[in-house]
Symmetry: C2
Subunit: 347 residues, 2 copies
């Protein structure tokens, strides 16, 4: 009785029960298990008509190679971890959708992790390791030692809109500084004098970059802006506008919000609470170019991140680093597109 490892009779009795294995297919096709394995590996040494015979048997049994068995032996899992800090942000769903589809297109599956707070990262890493992912795309703030853990394990990662500090890490980001500079150049050219900034939380990398850039360019024009710190959400925008108006004694020419959600909050607040006409009485700009920014109720003046290109780049870079480990981490910075909108007067 040389045949072994044949799965039990299918419980349901129907064709293609859950557990057809390569041995089952081999038996039905009258070949060895190795042949079945080869039939499913493109480029393997197998006669076309044998493959065809095997494929026919496989289809009949509803056989699909077990990714766990395959991953165990090949050490390639075709899994990519995607870590996104807060999904309820308006911006990330778009990124996630792009990443998921592009990763699928190149044969990888997405293992999704979302964080309720950045402090959960270490805990989450412990959940990633067992799955031996081939790589990771991370849109959350990793500390150097966390990046190092990936490097030590030889798992390539791409940071999305973040960059490593001491530890080398490949990254894809939108040029926040340049985008902010464009906006400010326009606002200054249009003659705005009294500026307010609605910034994000201090632990946001892009938020700080945008804030920093805004301050620098305003300072170059001899302007000291009022500042409010929010949480990147709509309510922070409303609250921020109120706070800034207070600080500025009601006289504010322009408000720079470091993302669109806050800009929209500021716009609604300016209209409803202060009865200001936008952009005639006050200019408000955002950053990101999320969907609602182009809604006719807002028509936000903002910088649109080239999400599709960025996602494509992240996936390409990751695959490249998976195929060819040990490459020097590359950093790609994308320029955003200025959406003129109608929420600000630009010169």
């Amino acid at each position: 009785m040389p045949k072994k490892k044949l799965s039990e009779a299918v419980p349901g009795g129907g064709p293609g029960g859950s557990g057809a294995t390569s041995y089952d297919v081999a038996e039905l096709a009258g070949v060895s298990q190795s042949a079945v394995s080869r039939a499913f590996r493109k480029g393997a040494s197998i006669a076309p008509k044998t493959r065809e015979k095997i494929m026919r048997a496989a289809k009949q049994l509803g056989y699909q190679p077990n990714a766990f068995a395959r991953g165990l032996i090949t050490r390639r899992t075709n899994l990519v971890a995607v870590v996104i800090s807060n999904l309820t942000n308006l911006y990330y769903p778009e990124v996630l959708a792009e990443l998921t589809q592009r990763l699928s297109a190149v044969g990888h599956r997405v293992l999704l992790f979302s964080l309720a707070s950045e402090s959960e990262i270490d805990e989450m890493l412990g959940l990633i390791w067992p799955y031996r992912v081939d790589g990771a795309i991370i849109a959350a703030r990793l500390k150097d030692d966390q990046i190092r853990q990936f490097n030590d394990r030889g798992i390539p990662i791409i940071l999305y809109n973040r960059v490593g500090e001491a530890e080398p890490a490949a990254s894809v980001a939108c040029d926040s500084a340049a985008g902010t500079r464009e906006l400010i150049k326009g606002l200054l050219a249009a003659g705005h004098q009294r500026f307010g900034i609605i910034a994000g939380p201090e632990d946001s990398y892009v938020g700080e970059e945008r804030l920093e850039s805004a301050r620098r360019h305003l300072a170059a024009a001899g302007i000291e802006p009022f500042l409010y710190r929010g949480g990147f959400d709509y309510r922070s925008g409303e609250e921020g506008l109120r706070a800034l108006m207070e600080q500025a004694g009601g006289k504010l020419d322009a408000v720079i919000a470091t993302n669109d959600a806050m800009a929209m909050g500021a716009i609604d607040c300016a209209r409803s609470t202060y009865d200001l006409a936008i952009p005639d009485q006050i200019s408000i700009v955002g950053f990101d170019g999320v969907g609602p920014a182009t809604w006719s109720g807002y028509q936000l003046t903002t910088i649109r991140q080239p999400v599709r290109r960025m996602a494509q780049a992240a996936v390409d870079m990751l695959i490249e680093r998976i195929e060819q480990p040990g490459m020097i981490p590359e950093q790609r910075l994308f320029g955003g597109e200025l959406l003129p909108g109608r929420s600000a007067r630009l010169g």
Copy 2:
């Protein structure tokens, strides 16, 4: 030489390289591989101080059990497939965030699939099978034969805001009919006479339910509404309002949009194109209760789906069915919450 299967010297030389196995830990701790395995399985027969010794060795090597090896032998992968048709919808990111976090909390990982179009489902199923997921949560429209494939393979699924037709399937949904009835009851009580409906695409299950319910309740009051079919997005809402105004000869009392995004589009269009005051000159209602619905610029009158409770229920039901296969599929219908908002006059 009885010791075998020890991994090579760690390439990086650092502690905790990528490939520590249970054999490595066993050697370092001076025990057998079986002991290591037991140390990581709660409830296994192992002396507390042996476990401690092993855990220390494991930590030193950065060892984490290989989920692929474990999954292969236990036939439990701790993976749950989550399928979401279009992520760029405002509603689903919230659902996804909830699902991901709750699944994590019960020890499951999310394998995410997103669809560019519903026609890709068959293709996507082929990508799911190899991973032998323990279960699936599906917010996309499955045909009966697709549901059957899950049933045949013994993979429990929960349909989210969808229900099976002929084929039995567990599901979690928000009661669209009841929610719509509430809205219409209110609108009728406030004396609205001329109604328009901005519906979603015909292949949306919830969309059709809401439309159907709206028509029925209006018919009961002897009202025949104008109808426009959109695509569930903001632009459809704008376009829809325009189309309805045209149909109604500019005289429209109330507009029922079958989701919030379209309702917001309709509101903006009513204000900017027709210069109508909301809700004084026209009432507009939505459905879902997405984030922007409560923004002060909209304050949408809508039905909020209890997303958190629904996600929790979906996860609970799924886990239950994973632990105890063969249960009769249960269907849970949740009532929504009426958010009065300020976009409609309700009686």
